[in-house]
């Protein structure tokens, strides 16, 4: 093994006590437009956080920063070294067989076995050696999840990973993500447009608006979450924050709801 000193020294390692993600006073501008304003966010180890916000509110920008795709000052943004992203479009390399996509960039021995184990966890052990182009949307997204999990991430970033899936597949994916999260216990940041999804899955829901956290809801309901009164309450509060009147029971312009109310069976 290489000595720890040989690793790049700018890799921030979480101390055993601290949160997984620590964002302090972080701003992000594109030209004259400030997308994120002095943002402060903390995500605890193993905490499941959902991030809601209108289109263009800066959710993806934040996620890209946390993923290390866009650089950020170390004193403002601190994350675990092991991070993994699941994008809305699975982004599998079409020229690599499924298991090689999962193994992409893995170091160390027995990569195939590790990829296989991860694919088994998402129920795709029978699709190891096929081309990504032959996968259904849901399967591709599961491969994408396996590819993220095989890295044992301390932080799992999900950018609207289920938005392109049909309602039924989406519910199955919710269960899958929850079970994987329980087993591997990474901190999770789930970006979504779907309030029901956020409330059904997360420990905490953040609403991003004009580059600031405009609302925060802690959800202490046990999982799986039934659509009981508390659920509806939280949901209505979040919808109101997003400019949707939940009392109308149908999405108004901007269509933030994927399901009509009450349809969710988490």
């Amino acid at each position: 093994m290489a000595s720890p000193l040989a690793r790049p020294s700018n890799d921030w390692r979480p101390s055993t006590a601290g949160p997984a993600v620590q964002v302090r006073n972080f701003s992000r501008r594109f030209g004259d437009v400030t997308v994120l304003h002095d943002l402060d966010i903390q995500i605890g180890r193993g905490e499941f956080v959902a991030l809601l916000g209108r289109s263009g509110s800066g959710k993806t920008t934040l996620l890209r920063t946390l993923a290390g795709i866009d650089p950020a000052p170390l004193d403002q943004v601190q994350t675990p070294t092991a991070r993994a992203v699941v994008f809305q479009d699975a982004r599998l390399l079409p020229w690599k067989k499924v298991w090689r996509n999962v193994a992409l960039g893995l170091r160390g021995g027995d990569i195939r076995a590790r990829a296989e184990a991860a694919l088994t966890e998402v129920g795709l052990e029978h699709r190891l050696d096929v081309w990504p182009a032959t996968l259904s949307g849901g399967e591709a997204q599961r491969v994408s999840l396996a590819r993220a999990l095989v890295r044992d991430p301390g932080l799992l970033l999900l950018d609207e990973p289920f938005a392109a899936l049909d309602a039924l597949t989406r519910l199955k994916m919710h269960e899958l993500v929850l079970s994987l999260w329980k087993r591997h216990a990474p901190a999770v940041l789930l970006v979504t447009h779907d309030v029901d999804e956020a409330v059904a899955l997360a420990d905490r829901v953040l609403v991003l608006e004009d580059g600031r956290i405009a609302a925060e809801e802690r959800i202490d309901l046990p999982r799986p979450r039934a659509t009981d009164a508390t659920f509806q309450d939280i949901r209505a509060r979040l919808l109101a924050k997003l400019g949707v009147d939940a009392g109308q029971r149908r999405p108004v312009e901007g269509a933030l709801l994927a399901f009509p109310s009450g349809e969710i069976v988490a």
Binding site: I69, L93, W95, L104, G105, A133, R151
Partner: protein, 269 residues
């Protein structure tokens, strides 16, 4: 050029296949018949155009006599040598320009400039520089094939889906790994299009280059045949050139089927 998406409906470039199906062989056959008939009845004199059967006989005797294989080997060697130089130079230049901004600034303008000069117009200059031996012929082919390779590979590299590159980065791929696992495979379909063009161009330029005082090769056969008004030999040589073109096409198609097995179009079949 063709960018890689995960869209399952991605259309692949389609190439007209040399296939005679569903009665499509009737008219070519009819043409052959009429041609043969014209030759037999003397309507088409042999010094204008030899008949198909005469051509076939000549072809056979040239094969058996070893004249055709020997000259074909010379021509093929020329084309391959030129192609080898053109291909290597094209790949090196495209990698340099495609993978670095500095490389692009240095190389791309020169290549675009070069493109404006019709390669065959360089023939006189090459003869002055290199004489009338093998060098000008091979150089012509090399110069002509550089560009299709360069342009297609370069645009293939630049056209690789940025989202895939981003995904690769997010999974901790190093620059070298990105190039190896993401950028080069992503540029491969484009490169193969370039290769197909280059093969076609190399044959075209071969035909012209072989008119430069060749003492062997298919072009040499044609020149001799012209002097003796042997239209049968000329037609045999034309058929050989055509077969070379077909073979080149088949070669690329086989390469594609192997290298691009992941493409939805190939998966289906």
């Amino acid at each position: 050029m063709s960018s890689i998406t995960l869209d399952r409906k991605t259309s692949s470039f389609t190439v007209p296949r040399f296939r005679l199906r569903g009665g499509r062989w009737v008219s070519p056959l009819l043409l052959l018949l009429v041609w043969e008939l014209g030759s037999r009845t003397g309507v088409i004199p042999e010094r204008i155009l030899a008949g198909p059967s005469a051509v076939a006989l000549t072809f056979w005797s040239m094969v058996v006599g070893g004249e055709l294989p020997a000259n074909l080997a010379v021509s093929l060697a020329r084309a391959l040598a030129g192609l080898a130089f053109g291909l290597s130079a094209g790949v090196v230049l495209a990698l340099a320009a495609g993978l670095s901004r500095g490389g692009e600034t240095a190389i791309d303008p020169l290549m675009q400039l070069k493109r404006t000069i019709p390669v065959l117009a360089l023939t006189p200059l090459f003869i002055v520089w290199f004489g009338i031996g093998e060098t000008p012929k091979i150089t012509l082919i090399a110069v002509a094939t550089v560009f299709p390779i360069y342009m297609n590979l370069f645009s293939g590299i630049r056209g690789v889906d940025a989202r895939l590159i981003e995904a690769g980065k997010s999974f901790g791929l190093s620059q070298a790994e990105l190039i190896r696992h993401v950028i080069l495979p992503g540029a491969l379909p484009s490169f193969l299009v370039g290769l197909r063009y280059a093969l076609g161009v190399s044959l075209l330029v071969l035909v012209v280059a072989e008119q430069i005082n060749a003492s062997a090769g298919i072009g040499h056969l044609i020149n001799n045949a012209r002097d003796f008004m042997r239209t049968d030999v000329i037609v045999v040589c034309l058929v050989v050139y055509a077969s070379l073109g077909l073979a080149a096409d088949q070669l690329v198609r086989t390469l594609e089927a192997r290298a691009l097995a992941w493409r939805p179009t190939f998966i289906k079949s």
